[in-house]
């Protein structure tokens, strides 16, 4: 596997996982804020 391929996989995973985590956390914060 070339470094470029590894980088693409790493980048895609980071993008998806970080976005999912931020969505979940922001939603949670929003709920707490409304309580």
């Amino acid at each position: 596997m070339t470094p470029e391929t590894k980088f693409l996989i790493f980048y895609a995973l980071s993008l998806v996982l970080l976005s999912a985590f931020f969505c979940w956390l922001e939603h949670r914060l929003h709920q707490r804020e409304r309580k």
């Binding site: 470029e4 590894k6 970080l18 931020f22 956390l25 922001e26 914060l29």
Partner: protein
Amino acid sequence: MFAGHFAFAFALKARYRTVPMWALLLATNLCDAVWLILTARGVEHFRLYLTLAGVVRIDLYDVPYSHSLFWAAMSALLVYLLFVRAEHERHWAVPLSIAVFSHWTLDWLMSAPLLPFANFGPAVKFGLGLAELFPYAGLLFELLFVLACWWVYDRQVKTAPRWERKIILVMLLLALSAPQVLQRLY
């Protein structure tokens, strides 16, 4: 820039509270999402190289669609036109189009002159090169940008538990260290 795009989504969320976070995150990272798909399909190309200072850099030498000025502007316009006609999501139009174009603007600030005009027209390349010419200044700028965006967001949710608000900052700062991980992949 990586962390800055996520941070800007939070800054927009502070101003446009009714726009969902997933839409803002998707919009601020749309250029990179398109880049990933087109590169995986062999339409666009990049390479990693080692500088004399021993730092691994990305050379986006062939990105005529995902990171071009014309297509970034067109994507932002398309997103605006798409949502401005929507019945319930009309108020998403402005923040999402700002978010889409912000990606190209932030990359222009940080990247070397690699960003093309389009897949046609003049062969001019754009990029102020802050991170390339002055790596520490580039890192400092991104750090300050992330902190500023988080601060803007944090002011809006100050009634929420403090530790949860801090996690966002911690994760954004961790994302800042993404280039260090890149070094290990080379």
